[in-house]
């Protein structure tokens, strides 16, 4: 199964009149089990695009089909929302309940699950994000640290058991350790539960290290849709549209400038050091 996007075009309206389209004729398929990284300059349409994946914005032109459910059919939206979980920017601002437990339980209760199932899902989700049951269940979400609050908010989405998890800048504002914890969580979800991850991020290093596919949006169109190795080998084009490249790619560019022929596809620390270990062969 997969998410199939076909000729998706979207324009916001102002005073009843459509503005220039924010998304222009997007067509591609997000494979189940993949880790899709979405990059693009501010205003390139990243957030607008992901809001189409669970029907938060309507499909006016073109279609989005999630596991066979066409989102242009209003009747399908509810089904799709149970498949696609959405974590917005700074999700901790949306915490509202009196205790962490109640907050995480909000989604599953809305799904009308019985209380024993709700409890087991909450416990499970809290364990996944690394919030200890005993220490955190009865505490107010507002007493937690920034990183803990972020994880509590993500737990609330995980408790609904999404098959596709969409995250908009999930690491923004976290320190390096907090970032690493969230990334490790996403890897666990993907490899152990088979959850498909769709993540918007400004961190090219995180994308290079974790994504299996990268979508580059530029002014609402697909500029590239490929593996990180292939996308980041086009560093000049990325820099032209105001994006940066992973730290390792920057090093490779400098080496290339000095005449060292290091393959342009190298974009992670592992790949870089392996190339040195294996005698610096040309690709």
């Amino acid at each position: 199964m997969s998410i199939v996007i076909n000729h998706l075009t979207y324009a916001y309206t102002q005073g009843g009149k459509p503005l220039d389209p924010t998304l222009k004729d997007l067509s591609f398929t997000i494979e189940e089990g993949s880790f899709l990284g979405i990059i693009g300059h501010t205003g390139s349409g990243k957030s607008t695009f992901v809001k189409h994946l669970n029907g938060l914005l309507p499909c006016e032109k073109g279609t989005v089909v999630v596991d066979g459910h066409d989102l242009s059919q209003k009747s399908e939206r509810k089904t799709v929302r149970s498949l696609v979980g959405m974590v917005f920017q700074y999700p901790e601002y949306q915490l509202f309940a009196e205790t962490v437990f109640e907050d995480v339980a909000f989604g599953p209760r809305n799904m009308k699950l019985d209380e024993s199932e709700v409890k087991s899902r909450v416990e499970n989700a809290m364990a996944l994000v690394g919030l200890d049951q005993e220490r955190f269940s009865d505490r107010s979400p507002f007493e937690l640290s920034g990183g803990e609050r972020r994880r509590a908010a993500i737990a609330g989405v995980l408790a609904m058991h999404p098959k596709y998890l969409v995250l908009d800048e999930p690491m923004a504002g976290l320190d390096p350790l907090g970032r690493r914890e969230i990334l490790a969580l996403l890897e666990t979800l993907r490899t152990e539960s088979g959850c498909t991850i769709i993540m918007i991020s400004h961190s090219m290093d995180d994308i290079a290290n974790h994504a299996t596919k990268v979508l580059v949006l530029e002014k609402g169109s697909v500029l590239m849709y490929d593996t990180p190795q292939s996308v980041f080998s086009h560093s000049e084009e990325l820099q032209r549209i105001g994006l940066s490249v992973p730290g390792i790619t920057k090093i490779c560019i400098e080496l290339n400038r000095k005449g060292i022929m290091i393959p342009a596809s190298i974009c992670t620390e592992d790949e870089f050091l392996t190339w040195f270990r294996e005698g610096r062969q040309h690709a």
Binding site: G147, G247, K258
Partner: protein, 294 residues
């Protein structure tokens, strides 16, 4: 220029101090980066420089004046231009009243800009200080030029990008003619091009003589500074030049920080037998020293 003497600070209701026994001296014209994990005390430290927070114990001296002395606090705040992260609760709607009180701007550009036209916003601070109109004009022009935004003087603030808004907010601080610039996570909400734009502006101000204190989580932003102070659990665990600080990857890791990529790669290559000096902190420097041995 700035001195912390045995500074301990504890927030009300907190079990442990946010800063414990900090001793620091920052000299005129220094460009200092302050790094640390969330909750390490780095922002708390920054908020002591203009007396927004006062030490529970010990003292902070700025340009010879104690921040705890109420008679001096306004003078101190005219010397310290401060750019901080403020939570929505601290700002409550429009940032103007708070900014007026303490003479500083906020990290979230949409809350900190108080008027709709760029040059009016930059003029807001000096107007509040009662500066003569003719001098305000001069200061605004100069401040906009410093951040490279002269061409945008008549623009509507809401039409600017995030990076541009941040530069306007900095211009607003510069128009107050501070001697010290304190930036708290000023780049956190910017995309990569906005971040490098802002960093260039700050570097230029430093080159022109400004003392800069920059709190950041992005380690690669610190390699061009004169000095890096690493905080952990309310204490200073490292204090030195970038070349010196990045030889202590063990302490950085124990402080939940990750060195810049070129430093990680440098250390890995050394274990493979390549000779690389401690001066290697950036991609350019790494390539430079690595090439002769390839």
């Amino acid at each position: 220029m700035i001195r912390f003497d045995n500074v301990t600070f504890q927030y009300e209701k907190a079990d442990t101090p946010a800063l414990s026994d900090i001793n620091l001296e920052i000299r005129e014209g220094e460009f200092v980066a302050i790094v640390g994990h969330n909750g390490s005390g780095k922002s708390t430290l920054a908020k002591h420089v203009n007396g927004l927070l006062l030490p529970t114990q010990g003292g902070v001296t700025v340009c010879g004046m104690q921040t705890s002395n109420e008679d001096d606090i306004l003078k101190i705040r005219q010397k310290v231009g401060q750019y901080i992260i403020a939570s929505p609760a601290e700002i409550t709607g429009n940032g103007a009243p708070y900014r007026q009180k303490v003479g500083m701007a906020f990290q979230n550009p949409d809350n900190q800009l108080v008027t709709t036209v760029v040059e009016e916003d930059v003029a807001f601070g000096p107007e509040n200080l009662g500066v003569q109109p003719s001098e305000i004009r001069e200061r605004v022009d100069e401040a906009l030029a410093s951040v490279g935004m002269t061409a945008f003087a008549q623009f509507a603030v809401h039409h600017l990008s995030g990076g541009q808004k941040q530069r306007i907010a900095i211009a607003g601080i510069l128009a107050l003619k501070p001697q010290i610039l304190v930036l708290d996570e000023a780049t956190a909400m910017l995309d990569p091009s906005g971040r490098s734009e802002l960093l260039e502006t700050v570097k230029k101000l430093h080159e022109e003589g400004m003392t800069v204190l920059m709190v950041t989580q992005y380690m690669e932003e610190t390699t061009g500074c004169d000095r890096i102070i690493v905080m952990k659990g309310g204490k200073v665990v490292l204090d030195g030049s970038p070349a010196d600080v990045f030889t202590h990857t063990d302490i950085l890791t124990a402080s939940n920080l990750i060195p810049p990529e070129p430093v990680i790669v440098r250390d890995a290559l050394r274990t493979m037998g390549y000779t690389l000096s401690d001066r290697v902190l950036t991609a350019e420097q790494l390539a430079e020293e690595l090439c002769p041995s390839l």
